[in-house]
């Protein structure tokens, strides 16, 4: 996706399409790591990853609300909406790729990059994390691509917030969408912040702020205004072996100790694709069934985002079914690959409609 700075309502809609794609793109990697953990083990890690995955689903819903509010048409069934992994994130962060892989130090390393703070928490980290100098934020990618590339998801959303404010200041009639398309708190809630129906400037900016603060802690604090720990620091607890608690500063958690058992994990095939499993094998059938189920699920959620929000209720049951389908894959060996288990591939048909 190529993005330039937001100067028109159409630009804003493009960004919000990208936002939905971006939020969704983090979910398959998180779920793969989550379900690779042996059931009943690694409680601390399981819950840390689960929290983040659930909040990405909230962010996806918030992005859909924003897109609907400004008269856009969410489409999660279009070709390419689900990336083929390994993948660069759709906001243009070009210094790392995201893989579908088991819970491991490598996976958590990637998750930390996904959720990295908008502005590095210290000058030292800024240097460590940026292998070569970049242009001013938002940066132009050094390879000559004329699209915008963001250092972090936080900066991507900062541009959306700037764009919304800018268009509003220009007198553009932004909030022309059908209010009945909004997903409301009755239909969606999670402990980490309520879904915000978007209907005007204030609610749109509140939605952007919620996403940014939950993910990356835009303000530079490890906690957001609601006292919730941001995703980056949640993951960091797994590498530091200790929980943060109120009053802590970045990189120095002082809460209860946290235990990680990196071995209590199914040895999943990294970035598996459907052709990694022999045609006719049970694993292949299970992988295809999962992909078909996931495509149907996206289609159901898309219907919820395009006029039938009540469909989010039955969608919850479908999520349980998907979890069970993943279970069938990760607990079984990949045929012809000793010591390696099958994994969900998230290969989508060209169009799922």
């Amino acid at each position: 996706m190529t993005l330039s700075r937001i100067t028109t309502k159409a630009d804003l809609q493009d960004y919000l399409h990208a936002a939905m794609q971006l939020e969704h793109a983090t979910i398959p990697p998180y779920l793969t790591a989550l379900y690779s953990i042996h059931p009943g083990t690694n409680s601390d890690a399981f819950h840390v990853i689960r929290v983040v995955a659930v909040e990405e689903m909230l962010h996806l819903t918030l992005a859909a609300n924003m897109l609907n509010a400004v008269g856009g048409e969410p489409d999660m069934t279009r070709a390419g909406f689900v990336p083929r992994y390994p993948a660069y994130l759709p906001d243009g962060e070009a210094d790392f790729e995201v893989s579908l892989e088991r819970f491991s130090p490598t996976a958590i390393g990637t998750f930390l990059k996904i959720e990295r703070p908008a502005q590095a928490p210290s000058e030292e980290m800024r240097v460590l994390r940026r292998p070569k100098p970049r242009a001013a934020i938002p940066a132009v990618h050094p390879d000559g691509d004329d699209g915008l590339h963001f250092w972090s998801i936080g900066e991507f959303y900062a541009e959306i917030a700037r764009g919304i404010q800018h268009l509003h200041d220009q007198g553009v009639d932004l909030f022309t969408g059908d209010p009945s398309r909004q997903v409301t708190p009755e239909l969606y809630y999670s402990g980490g912040g309520e879904v915000i129906p978007v209907k005007d400037l204030a609610s749109a900016l509140a939605a952007v702020e919620l996403i940014s603060e939950q993910g990356e802690g835009l303000t530079g604090s490890i906690y957001d205004e609601e006292g919730e720990l941001s995703h980056y620091f949640r993951f960091q607890q797994l590498t530091l072996g200790r929980y943060y608690q109120a009053g802590d500063v970045a990189n120095s958690p002082t809460g209860p100790a946290l235990e990680v058992d990196w071995d209590a994990v199914y040895p999943l095939l990294t970035n598996a694709t459907i052709t990694d499993f022999p045609a006719g094998s049970e694993v292949r059938a299970a992988a295809e069934a999962f992909n078909a189920g996931y495509a149907e699920f996206l289609s159901l959620v898309n219907q919820a985002f395009t006029g039938q929000p009540d469909l989010l209720i039955p969608a919850v049951g479908e999520m349980f079914a998907l979890r069970d389908q993943v279970g069938r894959l990760v607990r079984n060996p990949a045929p012809g690959r000793p010591g390696v288990n099958a994994a969900p591939t998230f290969d989508m048909p060209e169009t799922t409609r």
Partner: protein
């Protein structure tokens, strides 16, 4: 965080609360919010303050062979609890003292409670019903039982607060139709739970059924029960402010315990903490910054000491143990201005009686009530998706009140989404029977299991029981637990008034099964625990875990143990709180009502603590001089 370190003997707490269940947690939270320093003593362990600890309960439940109400909680001889597998039929005149709860008979009661952090709300099902206004005055209206010293209207504001604290999902219109008044415009914090497919199938068959009782006509309607379980928040709640559901208790931030997922094992433990448990309130109390709440787990209150000059409680003794597997313990003393016993309707009178404090009314431990449950079960004509949803979403509540209560007990029925489990027909039993008796395997076994389980219907008929002074908890020097504390001794029988309701329920069940085309598999055998004969027919009656009445509230020190604020008539700085204070329980699960009572009592405690400061310190000094 819970601690088992002994309390500082020099500290004088504002209040000491015995028990960390729903009553104790609510009181602790209320007092702490008003700035008081509170100590909570919990007899059991406190491993569930973290998600990891809670998950230990869950794995213990998954691995247990018996899935009874207390299966998730570790066996603990130092703070033992009743368990279903330990209840046996009784021989006339021979008490059964083989387990913690000594059964003196004549009726063996299979009811439990849980001694762990959070108490019995860990295993409770979560139904949160208000009592009917007429339930508060059964003596004056129907010549049965006891009147309350307060009316429904006086309790109503506290019901509202309890519904907020417990997070109740219900439809107000549905409840109002039962004759329960609500303030104009009131809605519950969350919308009513959606009916299960089984509920809908039953409703399609029986809605509108007419029942004639004592010359009056009633019409049945399947409706969802109010439940303390996270559902869809009601945007209209609190004048349009809405309601934010409370999730899982944890020392770190987790997104767990949100909307009910229908895991179908609410009893004995909700896997995701969508169901309210007292740990949610206790966590708030412990995190509070206005007052201060200290918590000691593995600390069993063993004696209440009274200053015989002032009549006030001077101090409390408790036994602390480090290892549930060993009876080794140390004994400690704790002092406070106010003492609150919130140990439940068995343990609270047990502690008082063991302390030689039978109440000047002599009613301590008496008037024990529970609900009598009659199960009827059968197979629906086609698959109805049994085993989906909460343990129970809906039922029949239309016969909870009426003039027929002059002569027989009121009753209600639960439609169980978990099939025949309570009657002993769990999916495991079904599968074993298919394998052992039907020689089924492979696809036949799979189809057979689905066919048997997905058609199961079980109705649990809750029949009311009136207070009777001879139904009671006592203690007896012959029966002691591992720490040397006296065990509770239960004497219990079921009166004809209740049995008449049981018979009526059985007869109505037959009619409803006919209407539904249900194949009746109900089977009561004389060898079953809880078998009784009434007017030539046999029934098996089970307990409901709704222990109550044992420190009954009333209008005078002669007719009751506590006053309308649950304050002891004998000891002005002692409150006995919980369902033990209830003079009647109607056909209402007791938790919401006892929660409302505790919130009401906490207001009185606050007034008392504020008014009495100087006098209390004087009394405490007197007490310690005598100790």
């Amino acid at each position: 965080m819970p601690s088992s370190a002994p309390v500082d003997a020099d500290t004088i707490y504002d209040a000491v609360i015995v028990g960390s269940g729903v009553s104790g947690s609510l009181v602790a939270n209320e007092l702490s919010k008003q700035g008081f320093h509170v100590l909570v003593l919990e007899a059991g362990p406190g491993e569930d303050q973290t998600i990891r600890g809670y998950e230990k309960y869950l794995s213990r439940f998954y691995e247990a062979t018996s899935k009874d109400n207390n299966s998730p909680y570790p066996a603990n001889p130092n703070a033992s609890m009743p368990r279903s597998p330990a209840v046996h039929s009784l021989a006339a005149g021979q008490p059964d003292s083989s387990s913690y709860l000594v059964q003196n008979g004549p009726f063996p009661l299979d009811s439990t409670y849980t001694r762990t952090l959070g108490g019995t709300t860990m295993h409770w099902e979560g139904k949160a019903l208000r009592m009917l206004p007429e339930d508060f005055e059964t003596r004056s209206r129907y010549g049965q039982g006891l009147d309350w010293p307060i009316s429904y209207d006086e309790l109503a504001p506290h019901y509202r607060r309890a519904e907020r604290e417990l997070g109740v999902s219900a439809d107000v219109q549905d409840q109002a139709e039962l004759g329960i008044p609500f303030e104009p415009g009131y809605v519950f914090p969350m919308q009513g739970l959606p009916a299960s497919y089984l509920d809908q199938a039953v409703a399609a068959g029986i809605d509108g059924t007419g029942v004639r009782l004592d010359g009056e006509d009633y019409h049945l309607k399947v409706r969802a029960f109010p439940q303390a379980r996270n559902g869809i928040p009601n945007a209209a709640y609190d004048g349009g402010k809405g309601y934010v559901p409370v999730g899982a208790v944890s020392t770190h931030q987790v997104e767990q315990g949100e909307r009910c997922q229908g895991n179908n094992n609410c009893v004995p433990l909700c896997p995701v903490q969508a169901k309210y448990h007292a740990g949610k309130t206790l966590a708030k109390a412990l995190a509070g910054t206005v007052g201060k709440v200290d918590l000691r787990t593995q600390a069993v209150a063993s004696r209440v000491h009274v200053d015989h000059v002032t009549g006030r409680v001077s101090h409390l003794e408790y036994k602390a143990y480090a290892d549930p597997g060993s009876p080794e313990h140390t004994t400690h003393t704790v002092r406070a201005r106010l003492f609150v016993l919130a140990a439940n309707a068995v343990e609270t009178p047990r502690l008082m009686l063991a302390s030689g404090l039978p109440s000047s009314s002599a009613l301590m431990g008496r008037n024990l009530m529970d609900h009598a449950y009659l199960l009827t079960w059968g197979l629906m004509p086609g698959p109805v998706g049994t085993m989906r949803g909460t343990v129970c979403t809906s039922g029949i509540s239309d016969l909870r009140g009426g003039a027929f209560r002059h002569g027989q007990a009121a009753f209600a029925a639960d439609i169980h989404n978990d099939g025949w489990g309570w009657a002993g027909g769990t999916p495991e039993v079904q599968v074993l029977d298919l394998v052992d008796s039907m020689n089924a395997f492979g696809p036949d076994l799979r189809r057979g299991a689905v066919d048997r389980i997905s058609r199961q219907l079980l109705l649990a008929w809750m029949v009311e029981l009136m207070p009777d002074p001879s139904n009671r908890i006592t203690v007896d020097g012959r029966y002691k637990d591992a720490l040397g504390n006296l065990k509770p001794v239960l004497s219990y029988n079921i009166a004809d008034y209740t049995l008449a309701g049981v018979a009526q329920a059985r007869s109505l069940s037959r009619r409803l099964f006919q209407r539904l085309g249900v194949e009746d598999h109900t089977d009561y055998r004389p060898t079953d625990v809880g078998y009784v004969s009434y007017q030539g027919e046999g029934y098996v009656i089970r307990g409901g875990n709704h222990w109550s009445g044992t420190h009954v509230m009333g209008t005078t020190p002669a007719n009751s143990v506590v006053d309308a604020d649950q304050r002891s008539w004998d000891h002005e700085n002692l409150f006995l709180v919980g369902s033990g204070s209830m003079p009647s329980i109607g056909t209402s699960n007791t938790t919401l009502t006892l929660a409302a009572l505790c919130l009401k009592s906490a207001e009185q405690m606050v007034r008392q603590l504020r008014d009495e400061t100087s006098a209390v310190e004087l009394a405490t000094t007197t007490g310690s001089a005598q100790a």
